[in-house]
Amino acid sequence: MIKMTNISKSFSGNQVLKNVQFSLEPGEIHALMGENGAGKSTLMKILTGIYSRDSGTVEVKGKEVHFTSPKQAEDAGIAVIHQELNILPHLSITDNMFLGNEETFGRSGIIKTKTMEQKTKKALLDLGLDIDPAAPASSLSVGQQQIVEIAKALAVEAEVIVMDEPTAALTDREIDTLFATIRELQGRGVSFIYISHRMEEIFSLCDRITILRDGEYVGDKRIAETSFEEIVQMMVGRELGERFPQRNAAIGDVKLAVKGLSRKDCFEDVSFEIRRGEVLSIAGLMGAGRTEVAQSIFGYKKADSGSVEFDGRAVKIRNPKQAKELGIGYITEDRKSEGLIVDFTVEENVSLTNFSAISKNGLISKKKERSLYDSMVKRLGIRTSGPEQTAKSLSGGNQQKVVIAKWLGIAPELLILDEPTRGVDVGAKKEIYSIINELAERGVAILMISSELPEVIGMADRVLVMHEGKVAADLPKAEMTQERIMHFAAGGGNHEVKEQ
C-alpha cells in the first residue's frame, strides 16, 4: 500500500531522520513507536506532504509520489489525525468538521449548514459523543476536540488513515468506541498507521509494529511474535526495568483539605484531603469534572461554594498567582493552549513561572535564566537543539516535559498534575514517575489526574473516582483494581462491586 525507503530529513542542520524505511500492507493496522523525538510525527508529515524529504522515496500503491500538500495526500486516499489538535476555537463544531470541504448549494458558495450539522451530529454520535454540532468548538474539552478530529479524518473516505496519538486525551470508554470503529473500517479494507505511547493499545489493536530510535529504523515485528519487553528494549536501546519505580515517602500532616466544593454544572460537593508525601489520584471518565476541580483549587475558575484549607488554614485562592505564592503548582492538561507559549523559546517558557528566581528588581538575569534552563533540561532529560529552540518545534513528549519543568522550578509544596504523561514515551514516563516519587519523598503533596488506569494503580496511594461531577469512591491502595475504578467511574453503586 505504502512503501517509504531511505527517508532522511534535517531541520536546520539537525538530522532527525536517517535512512528510515516503512511499509504498510493493505488492511493492516501498523503501529509506529519510538521515544519522544524519535521522528514518528516527522515521518508521517513527510508521507502526507507537510514536510519535504531531503532524500528517499515514497511509493503509494506501487507508484512513486511527491506530495507537496496534505490536500494532495488526501486526494490520494491518505487522511491524517495530527498529534497537535487543529481546532479553530471560534468556529462551530460543524465548521471545524468540514473546514476546507464545506458542502454548498451547487457552486454558489452558500453553505448547507443544516445538512452539514446533521452529518456532524451523526459522525460524532458514532464515536459516542452526543453534542450540539452548532456549539463553538471552544466549548469542547480536549478529549472531545480529539474526537472531532478523529471524526473529521474518518469523514473523508480514505484508504489509509494515519493516527498520531489519537487517544492521548481520551479515557477508556471513548477508546473502546474508537477501536471498534477502527476494526470496522479495517474489515472494509482501510489500513491504519497508528502512533501511540500506550503499550496496552498496541497489543490489543495492531497487527504489526515499526520501531524508530533517534531518527533511525530499528526494526519491524508482527505483534503476535513480540513482547512488551522486546518493544521497550528496541525503543530505548536498553532494559528499562520496573515500570513504576519504588517510593519511600513518609506520609505526614494534611496539606490540602477540600470541603464541599461545588460549581454549577461541573462538580458537586467534592471533599477530600491530601497529606504531605501522599500521591492522590483522581480517576474518572471524560467530563467527570476532574480538571474543573483542579482548576478551581488553583483559582483559575471559581467554585460557587465550598472551602479549601491549606496547611490547616482556610484560604481563598482567587487566581493562579495566589495559588503559586502559596506553593501550588499546576501542570495543565492541554499543553498547547494552557501550558506553553508555543512561539516562545524553551528557555523563555521555563522562565515563565520563575521570574522571582531569575530576576532582581524586575531585571532578568540572563545568566540565572540560562542556569535554570540548564538544570531543568538535565533533570528532565528534555531533548532540544538548544535554549533558543521554539517550543512549537519540540516533539510532543518534550513539550510536556517543558511544562513540567516550569513548575519544578518553583519548588511546589502541592503539585497538581493533570494527565502528566500524556504523549510521553515509556522511558520518559518512568522519569516523570521518579520525579513524582522524589517530590513525594521530600514531603510534597501530589494530586494526579490521570486517565491511564495502570498509571493510577501503579502510582497512587489513594484514588478518588469521580462520576458526573461527584466523588463516587475514595479507594485506598489495597482496594484499587482496574475493575473497581471503572465500575465507580461508570456510575455503578457501592453494592454491586464484583470482586475478581
Binding site: 503559586k324 494552557e338 516562545f344 523559546t345 523563555e348 515563565l352 531585571l363 521554539t390 516550569k406
Partner: protein
C-alpha cells in the same frame, strides 16, 4: 529574543529598510537638498512625535491589542496642559499634570479592556470619541494660545541639544529606555507572554490584567509626551491639532511600526 522573528525570512526582516533606502534615494535625486543635515534633522523632528506614540503602540500590539484613542489622548492632554499654562499655572506643573492625565486616560482604556473584557478595538474606539468630546468641551472649540516663554516648555518642542532638535533627543532616549524594558525586564517578558498565549500566562501565575492596564497606561503617557512636544512646537493647542487625516496617519504609522 528569538520569538516570532525566527521563522521570518531575511527579506521579511530587512524589507522595510530596503523600502526606506529606496525612498531616500528617490527624494535625494528629485531634490538635492534632501540629504542636507538640516533637512534630515527636520524630518527626524517631524517623525519624533509619531514615533513616541508608535513606541507605546508596540507594547499594546505585543499584548494582542490595539489603541485607537492615542490621537484623542494627544489632543486632550495637549489642550489641558496648554490651558493650565495659559491660566498662569507653573508650566512645569502643567506639563507633569498633562503626563499624568495621559497615563490615567490610558489606564482607563486598560481597565475597560482587562476588567470589563471589552475587545480593545471596541473599547478604544469608544474612548477615542469620548476623549475627543472632552477636548471639544474643554477648549470650547477655540485654539489655546499665549503659552508664555517658560524655558523648559519652549525647549521641549523647539529647543536644540548640541545642534540636535530636542524632540529627536527625547525620541532617542525614550527608545533606549523602552527597548531595555521590553528586552531585559520581567515586565517586558510578560508583555510578550500575554500576547503569545493569555491563558497559559494566567495559568503561569501572571497577572495579565495588570500587564494590560500598565501597557495602555504607558501608551497614554507617551501620547501625552508627544502632545507636550507638539504644543510647545506649535506654541498653541487646538482641537483641530489632530485632524481626521492626521489621526488616521498616526494610527496607521503606529500600527505599522512593530510589524
Amino acid at each position: 529574543m528569538k520569538l516570532k522573528n525566527s521563522n521570518q525570512s531575511l527579506l521579511q526582516k530587512i524589507g522595510p529598510f530596503i523600502g526606506l533606502i529606496v525612498i531616500v534615494l528617490i527624494f535625494s535625486i528629485l531634490e538635492p537638498g534632501f540629504l542636507s543635515m538640516n533637512n534630515l534633522l527636520n524630518v527626524l523632528r517631524q517623525v519624533s512625535f509619531n514615533a513616541l506614540i508608535a513606541f507605546g503602540m508596540t507594547f499594546v500590539i505585543l499584548t494582542g491589542g490595539i489603541d485607537l484613542s492615542v490621537g484623542s489622548i494627544l489632543a486632550l492632554t495637549g489642550a489641558v496642559s496648554a490651558g493650565l499654562i495659559a491660566s498662569g499655572i507653573d508650566p512645569i506643573f502643567a506639563m507633569l499634570a498633562g503626563l499624568l492625565l495621559g497615563a490615567i486616560l490610558g489606564a482607563v482604556n486598560g481597565f475597560i479592556i482587562a476588567k470589563g473584557k471589552v475587545a480593545p478595538f471596541i473599547a478604544t474606539l469608544a474612548t477615542m470619541t469620548i476623549y475627543r468630546g472632552l477636548t471639544l468641551v474643554y477648549t470650547e472649540g477655540r485654539p489655546i494660545s499665549g503659552l508664555g516663554d517658560n524655558a523648559a516648555f519652549q525647549m521641549l518642542g523647539k529647543g536644540y541639544f548640541f545642534g540636535i532638535p530636542v524632540p529627536v533627543v527625547t525620541m532617542l532616549i525614550s527608545f533606549g529606555i523602552l527597548y531595555f524594558i521590553l528586552k531585559k525586564t520581567t515586565f517586558g517578558r510578560r508583555v510578550y507572554a500575554v500576547g503569545g498565549n493569555e491563558e497559559a500566562s494566567i495559568l503561569s501565575g501572571i497577572n495579565t490584567d495588570r500587564i494590560k492596564i500598565y501597557v495602555y497606561s504607558l501608551t497614554g503617557l507617551l501620547s501625552a509626551l508627544a502632545a507636550l512636544m507638539l504644543t510647545s512646537r506649535l506654541n498653541s493647542a487646538q482641537r483641530r491639532q489632530v485632524k481626521c487625516s492626521n489621526l488616521m496617519r498616526l494610527q496607521l504609522s503606529s500600527s505599522a511600526a512593530p510589524a
